[in-house]
């Protein structure tokens, strides 16, 4: 495997351009001064100082994502997204791209110290930058550690709108991630490429989780059925049917969508006779529409 996920010079140029357009002149001047310093005379100390000091020199505000920017980000690295990210995180990612990558031991040591001394905003910046950084095998290990965080902003940076987990996480880490996202009530529809990583173990874990919720008289997140759909069998069908018969319209929608994703004949039969099936066929009822409906009504 290549040590790079993205050509580092292209990544630097992309982030730099973004910052030139979205920061104040004085902020751009500060970033460029530090960038020049790291290019001409890199040292660990100057890198750490620049990385830490970002919050003092760059005001936190959201990255403004328009269609051309979104397309350029995706062209740089499939799935790379600046949705919900902030400009200071982009500056930090740009600085990390200046850490030398040739010597893996030095790279790991530098990054390890960075992770273990980082504050919340820095951790979020690091995990959001994962799709652009070098040594994905090392990052993947660090990412599994990141999944253990209790800080939702940090978890979100790694898990939501981020192509890194789908590309690099082991099945076990992936399954832990999805379950924890439900457990901690994150908007799971923002997890990328779930269909590619679906597996029978995850479906079984989520079914168990649904049973646990029902036993405690709690609701089950409609998005949960997404990763169950292709694995519906005679054991799981009663659970999906229960969601279908709930009086929550969103749960019904999610159940129908899951049923249509199953090749199990009784599941298909159940979907076919349901009025919502038309919306699935028309493409208006999708996991995205369900996610947006769930998260916009509870916001």
């Amino acid at each position: 495997m290549s040590i790079h996920q993205v050509n580092p010079n292209q990544a630097k140029a992309f982030l730099h351009q973004l910052l030139v357009h979205q920061l104040d002149a004085s902020e751009v001047a500060w970033v460029e001064e530090k960038k020049a310093l790291l290019e001409a005379n890199y040292s660990i100390r100057s890198f750490y100082m620049a990385f830490s000091a970002v919050s003092r020199f760059v005001k936190r505000k959201p990255v403004v994502v328009d269609a051309p920017l979104a397309a350029a980000a995706n062209a740089l690295r499939a799935g790379y997204s600046l949705e919900d990210r902030t400009v200071d995180e982009v500056v930090r990612a740009l600085f990390v791209l200046h850490v030398p990558t040739d010597d893996l031991a030095v790279y790991e040591k530098t990054m390890h110290q960075l992770f273990t001394t980082a504050d919340m905003a820095e951790l979020a910046a690091l995990y959001a930058g994962f799709p652009l950084f070098a040594h994905p095998t090392f990052l993947s290990k660090q990412g599994e550690e990141g999944l253990r965080t209790n800080m939702s902003g940090v978890f979100d940076a790694l898990v939501l709108n981020n192509p890194f987990p789908a590309d690099h996480f082991s099945e076990n880490a992936w399954n832990n991630m999805v379950l924890k996202a439900f457990f901690t009530e994150r908007p799971t529809y923002k997890i990328q490429r779930q269909e590619e990583r679906q597996n029978a173990t995850l479906a079984r874990i989520l079914i168990d989780y649904a049973h646990e919720r029902w036993a405690a008289h709690r609701t089950v997140a409609p998005e949960l059925w997404r990763n169950v759909g292709p694995f519906i069998n005679e054991t799981y069908l009663p659970d999906v049917t229960r969601a279908l018969n709930s009086n929550e319209p969103i749960s019904q929608q999610a159940a129908i969508l899951a049923l249509t994703q199953s090749s199990y004949a009784p599941a298909q039969a159940l979907a076919t006779q349901h009025p919502l099936k038309e919306e699935v066929d028309a493409g208006t009822l999708t996991w995205n529409s369900i996610g947006e409906a769930v998260w916009n009504t509870t916001a």
Binding site: A121, M151, A216
Partner: protein, 304 residues
């Protein structure tokens, strides 16, 4: 009566419970500063310091935010543990990595304990760091030989070129306050039952010296202490007829003015924010499964 807001600029939340956070929020505490200190027994490895500093800028801050309280910290090597010279050297290498972090409002708490030569060495080195980074300094004055130790702390600050306006001298009492104020420093008082100040004495101090550059804090930690010291002292001041403006100065405004000097602590950080416990991680965080999250706008309670 008008609702009052409080800042407790010296409290060690790492040692406190969620009950304390709830009580503090209910009493009107909107922001706190947690100085780096020792944990009751000396640490033996530099990694313990690294994780401690990390928790001050990470987990503890997040935990406070769940109760609607804005958490800041000061970072430094405390005087007691500075006496382990080999360890102190390693900790000094860590400090530049942490002092520039978001929400770090000063170097602290540093100063003297036994007033040993080693303590003096690391106090001075940290004053130089504060000067270089233009950060306020939070000074812990010694329990023993306090009066001389307080004077010496200020002498050394001046030797290293720090402006008195950038230095908060903490744990004052009736014996030290006059000199600290006369020399232009901020004078902080710790309302800590038994060993430091009681709040009745604090009322007398404000009656005598007014409110300029005087700050009240709790220093609540792992010992017998009270995280509601600041609001309780304010309540006692109200009862004793201290003017409202002076109470607001010593329990809120002065702490903001003193620790806001490097721009990391701003009133807008906590005005118009509320508690949002839906951000909690219900599986393994402070809110356990089965508890309904409360999502409410922060409403300050009147202290009667």
């Amino acid at each position: 009566m008008e609702k009052m807001k409080f800042i407790d600029p010296h409290i060690h939340m790492t040692s406190r419970t969620t009950d304390d956070y709830q009580a503090m929020a209910a009493a009107g505490v909107v922001a706190i500063i947690e100085p780096a200190f020792w944990l009751g027994q000396p640490r033996t490895e530099v990694g313990s310091f690294k994780d401690y500093y990390s928790s001050l800028i990470g987990w503890e801050r997040f935990r406070a935010s769940q109760f609607g309280i804005k958490h800041y910290c000061t970072i430094g090597l405390n005087s007691k543990e500075a006496n382990n010279e080999a360890l102190a050297e390693e900790v000094m290498e860590l400090l530049p990595l942490f002092l520039c972090k978001e929400g770090v409002v000063g170097v602290g708490e540093i100063g003297y304990d036994d007033q040993s030569e080693t303590e003096d060495k690391y106090f001075r080195l940290q004053l130089d760091l504060a000067k270089e980074l233009d950060m306020p300094v939070q000074i812990h004055t010694p329990h023993r030989d306090k009066k001389a130790g307080t004077s010496r702390s200020m002498d050394v600050c001046e030797e290293h070129g720090l402006a008195p306006s950038m230095v908060i001298v903490d744990h004052n009492n009736e014996e030290t306050v006059k000199e600290v104020l006369d020399r232009g420093y901020w004078a902080a008082f710790t309302i800590y039952p038994g060993t430091k100040m009681g709040n009745a004495r604090m009322v007398e101090i404000v009656k005598q010296y007014g409110s300029e550059r005087i700050i009240v804090n709790s220093s609540a930690d792992w010992g017998m202490s009270d995280p509601l010291s600041v609001p309780k002292t304010a309540a006692l001041m109200i009862e004793n007829g201290i003017p409202q403006q002076q109470i607001e100065d010593v329990c809120y405004n002065n702490a903001l003015a003193a620790f806001g000097q490097n721009g990391e602590m701003k009133e807008e950080d906590w005005l118009n924010t509320g508690i949002d416990q839906t951000q909690l991680f219900s599986g393994n965080s402070i809110l356990r499964g089965g508890v309904d999250p409360i999502v409410q706008k922060l409403s300050n309670k009147i202290i009667e």
